[in-house]
């Protein structure tokens, strides 16, 4: 799974954005802030308007034919060489890794393989391809990061979110107990095994609150919907946001 990531030697002039279905409907701000961050680096962002969902929900539920039909709809939207930036470690990993399994033996496997090589998770792209330098303009605050399991274990980019937050001079990055443990989202797992998921998210929030951050950020809106949803349910004071929003908000002069 920890596939080698090849990074373009030159700074790309344009990229595609795969926004993800969760960002599209529930967290468009994260998508817009992603575009702002990329454009500030002089990168043109193209958003193919026919994109829907990477197919992961059906894939993880075992409905692979249905997942493949939806995935195929996405694959053809990103022709050429431009990198595809995804503000989600989980959806990025679906397109980078799991598409290869899903399309093995299919007539369009070569197209899928070519696409998978160009897929990057947002923080990974900002750090390793664009080598961004952030100028923090915000007030002092404490920020905790929840890295999604697929960003950590499948994309191997957990360090990139940390590195970006560490560039913010007035931000203190705080760790918390069992930080690498799953928040209990897991897509359909959260509804199929609601009670287990509930136990996981409530313990996750206990650990986060004990570290008393002002804000919790992450790169995956699934986890954030889960953690943030539970925080608001229990009246937690911690603000929950996509990392793109934190970065843009604090550096936008």
């Amino acid at each position: 799974m920890e596939a080698e990531h090849a990074y373009p030697g030159q700074r790309p002039r344009q990229v595609y954005l795969f926004g993800t279905c969760l960002v599209d409907l529930f967290f468009p701000e994260a998508g817009v802030d992603t575009v702002s961050l990329l454009e500030r680096e002089g990168v043109k962002v193209i958003y193919p308007k026919d994109q829907t969902c990477c197919g992961q929900p059906a894939y993880n539920s075992g409905y692979h034919d249905e997942a493949r039909i939806v995935a195929r709809q996405q694959v053809r939207l990103f022709p050429g060489d431009a990198p595809v930036v995804v503000p989600s470690g989980s959806c990025a990993s679906m397109m980078k890794h799991h598409y290869l399994d899903l399309f093995r033996g299919e007539p369009d496997f070569a197209d899928v393989e070519a696409l998978s090589r160009r897929v990057y998770e947002l923080t990974e792209f900002l750090v390793r391809v664009l080598n961004v330098r952030l100028n923090d303009l915000g007030a002092p605050e404490k920020v905790a990061i929840h890295t999604a399991c697929h960003a950590r274990r499948e994309m191997g980019v957990a360090g990139d979110a940390d590195a970006l937050v560490d560039q913010l001079a007035n931000v203190e990055r705080v760790g918390f107990t069992r930080q690498t443990e799953c928040c209990g989202f897991g897509g359909t797992f959260a509804v199929k095994h609601g009670p287990i998921s509930a136990a996981m998210v409530s313990e996750k929030v206990d650990c986060i609150e004990a570290a008393a951050p002002d804000r919790l950020v992450g790169g995956d809106c699934g986890c954030l919907m889960n953690i943030g949803g539970h925080m608001r349910h229990r009246g937690s004071p911690v603000k929950v946001q996509h990392i793109a929003s934190l970065l843009w908000e604090r550096t936008d002069g």
Binding site: I196, S197, R232
Partner: protein, 473 residues
């Protein structure tokens, strides 16, 4: 939802509601994770070792039939009698026959998960033969009339107080002693006599070496050594997948197993069993038998992806690191092997009709795959088995493939596909949701809403906002 799945959910809820279970597992798993991490301070060295371990296991499975034949021949040269059992029933009958030939009344057992798979104790009991567990954890769960909740630490679900209560209740002349060391002493004194009184010793096997015909058995309490040496007859039971090619293959596995399992550099005892007592030797059993159980393994082996299930060396790292296992414990799974490895192994052994819902009890967080010492891609296989459980081709290689498919769920995913494969339909759906400003908390959303705020669709979708911004194409 079918009956086994419903019962699975009931057991999960019971475990989640039991504060003792929650506390015992959380504490134990936190400890085991720390111990393992301390054993592998150098990530480069760890990955190198995992590569070696995986290569050894893959190599063995790639030539499984040949290696098993070599193992049988070598064992025979060493004086070990090899038996083959296709099913659990057959395996139990073989052990019973050996016991009967020796008019055995009592059997002492070292820890063996395959014997749990066989339900050997229960089987022998029906024929008036007492099988007593000699591993402390196994002894405790046997005394409590329970099954192991963990493959390496069978009584991990109990704390000292619970064990003290159990001993006081079940053991004659033993009072309430809430002290782990004292309790161990009590058990040791009882067991010590049993080793010498037993007619047959039954043990498991960690690795069976084809090259030398020797059986490697690791343990910490000495019960394995006594079980395999004190009684006149030793029966080792194991699955056919436990074979490795060469003696040197054992080295990386021995380095990985205890460190991944209990965070020990090496176990207290490493037994290399290479046959019965020879002429002039003063101790050891007069007969050694090796029972090789299939129980669905040949079928698993036939599929190149599913075959990876058989790489497992039963270290338990996957369950120790599983956030689901840490919360529901081993018994909730209702199977001999719990946790992530159980979720991929049990449906293949028992069939998707019985336990096809097991692979669903995972958030696919990947912690199991990350720590597996022999690189079994457990998360990938969980997804594969979810697919097999709802397969509708009628050609699933997995026993009971397709048994979990329901009309409702299949129709839901079909509907999902129609919406998401059509940009126009998708835009219509998201804009409708946006216009409605939210969804009623029904069905799956109700579960979600019980502990979380229901997310509200944004006033404008990202599609709309980037259209306005001029990024859309």
């Amino acid at each position: 939802m079918d009956k086994p799945t419903r019962q699975f959910h009931v057991r999960i809820q019971e475990a989640l509601n039991d504060p003792q279970i929650r506390a015992n597992f959380r504490r134990a798993m936190d400890g085991l994770m720390t111990k393992r991490a301390n054993m592998f301070p150098d990530p480069v060295e760890l990955e190198r070792l995992r590569d070696l371990g995986a290569a050894v296991r893959r190599n063995a499975l790639a030539q499984l039939p040949e290696l098993l034949e070599r193992l049988e021949a070598k064992c025979a040269e060493n004086g070990i009698t090899v038996h083959w059992a296709e099913s659990v029933d057959e395996a139990n009958r073989i052990v019973l026959d050996i016991c009967r030939r020796h008019s055995a009344k009592s059997v002492i057992k070292g820890k063996s998960m395959v014997s749990e798979e066989m339900e050997l104790n229960h089987y022998l009991g029906e024929f008036g033969i007492e099988a007593l567990e000699a591993d402390l954890g196994e002894y405790i769960v046997q005394l409590a009339g329970q099954l192991p909740s963990h493959i390496v630490m069978p009584a991990i679900h109990m704390n000292t107080r619970q064990i003290a209560e159990l001993f006081a209740e079940k053991l004659e002349g033993v009072g309430y002693i809430e002290d782990a060391e004292e309790l161990t002493k009590v058990a040791r004194e009882i067991l010590r006599h049993k080793f010498f009184d037993a007619d047959v010793g039954v043990s498991g096997v960690n690795f069976a070496v084809a090259e030398t015909g020797s059986l490697v058995l690791i343990e910490n309490e000495g019960n394995g050594r006594l079980t395999t040496t004190a009684p006149p007859v030793h029966v080792a039971v194991t699955g056919i997948e436990k074979v490795v090619e060469n003696l040197e293959d054992v080295t990386p596995l021995l380095s990985l197993l205890p460190r991944s399992a209990t965070g020990q550099n090496v176990t207290t005892y490493v037994n290399m069993i290479s046959g019965p007592r020879r002429d002039g030797e003063r101790d050891g059993p007069q007969e050694v038998h090796l029972l090789l159980l299939d129980n669905g393994r040949t079928r698993i082996h036939a599929d190149p992806e599913l075959r990876q299930t058989l790489q497992c060396i039963r270290c338990s790292a996957c369950m120790n690191h599983c956030p689901v296992y840490a919360r529901i414990g081993g018994h909730a799974y209702g199977t001999v092997y719990p946790g992530p490895i159980g979720e991929i192994l049990m449906p293949q052994i028992l069939g998707c009709e019985e336990v096809g819902a097991l692979p669903g009890a995972s958030s696919l967080c990947g912690a199991c795959g990350e720590v597996c010492p022999v690189r079994i891609p457990i998360p990938k296989m969980l997804v594969r088995l979810r697919k097999e459980a709802v397969d509708n081709t009628g050609a699933s290689p997995v026993k009971g493939g397709g048994a979990q498919r329901s009309f409702g769920e299949a129709a839901t995913w079909k509907g999902w596909e129609k919406v998401h494969a059509s940009p126009a339909l998708y835009r219509l759906a998201t804009r409708t949701a946006t216009a409605m400003g939210g969804l009623p908390a029904l069905g799956p959303l109700k579960t979600w809403a019980s502990v979380r705020e229901v997310p509200k669709p944004a006033a404008k979708t990202l599609h709309q906002r980037l259209e306005e911004r001029g990024n859309s194409r």
